[in-house]
Subunit: 202 residues, 2 copies
């Protein structure tokens, strides 16, 4: 606003990172550390080190730790939504799309850095002190509910099936995180199959 008319992008500095690149590296570092170790067990200094930026740059792009957590959750939400939609789109039919949810979860659970749902973890850690974070988490969960409801509708099943299938997915996530195994995905898938079959033949 107050700049001169020639507000060129400083961008292409040789040794330095472009703003976009710095943003991405910071978010990636925040995701790995916050998710892997917990938000409160990770200092901003560690994020800086892992991202390879200066503290100044870090605070220039994200005004506070809370804002960084929020942005990393939003990015995770984007990736989750995209992953779910791709998985559903690859299924042969509407019922297959619903079951694909649990196959997607199974693949996630098998990743060695899997530590449960980042949203649930952050909610437990900051939900009571940060309304912004709590809102992002609620939004994520309600978006997932809507996603499942859409697939249920496509399959021609009654709407009451959707929250039931969502509960199975939620339970599978926390169970896999705590037990440290991926079997809950298959169990949820089997239960979902039964519920879908009954709902469709009613």
């Amino acid at each position: 606003m107050t700049g001169t008319a020639t507000s060129r992008t400083p961008a292409a500095r040789p040794g330095a990172l472009t703003e976009e690149a710095a943003r991405e590296r910071i978010i990636a570092a925040a995701d790995e550390l916050f998710y892997g170790r917990g938000v409160q067990n990770t200092g901003m200094d560690e994020i800086r080190g892992a991202a390879g930026v200066s503290l100044k740059r870090l605070y220039q792009l994200f005004p506070s730790k809370e804002a960084l957590v929020e942005q990393m959750l939003l990015e995770r939400h984007r990736a989750w939504t995209e992953g779910m939609e791709v998985a559903a789109a690859g299924a042969p039919d509407a019922v297959g799309a619903l079951l694909a949810i649990y196959d997607y979860l199974a693949g996630w659970f098998r990743q060695e850095n899997f530590r449960g749902c980042a949203f649930i973890n952050c909610f437990g850690e900051m939900g009571s002190t940060s309304p912004r974070i709590a809102a992002v988490v609620r939004r994520h969960k309600s978006d997932f509910q809507e996603f499942v409801a859409r697939l249920v509708s496509d399959a021609g099943a009654p709407p009451s099936l959707a929250p039931q299938l969502a509960l199975l997915a939620e339970g599978a996530q926390t169970t896999a995180a705590i037990a440290g195994t991926d079997e809950s995905a298959g169990q949820a898938r089997n239960a979902a199959q039964t519920l879908i079959r009954v709902a469709l033949t009613a």
Copy 2:
């Protein structure tokens, strides 16, 4: 050990609390504060204030914050197990006992201080840094799995039903916590009813 032969209980001091009473008050305060606000958002000083004991006494009874968290979780585990067993025992038959799980959850969700499963919350907050806490959480969840498995066996249903019903209970807890409503209990109950019916008529 090194005390004199007359190791009497100092117990009945007029103004002071007995060791047992202090323990209970501390655990109660820890439960309320740790659960309501998160472990890391609660200082030992606040626990002391809420329990009405001195810091010295507090550290004498619980050698560290981690130990206090562990003991409060163990107490919660006891209360949860007892509540579940009472709820199941009050049901007319084995299927009713399984469904009573979700009624018990519904009652819990409606409590105004409900903030999700304390074990999941603590796991997210300390699971990666405290093996002791992680172990208590895993034990709690596996005990619940066994409890459900026993009821499923009593009902004459195949063992594969048990983890499915447990997933519904887990999902209902996190969903209720984040959404702030109790409807997930009813949804889980309905889904459970369907799964049980199918499992028994197979």
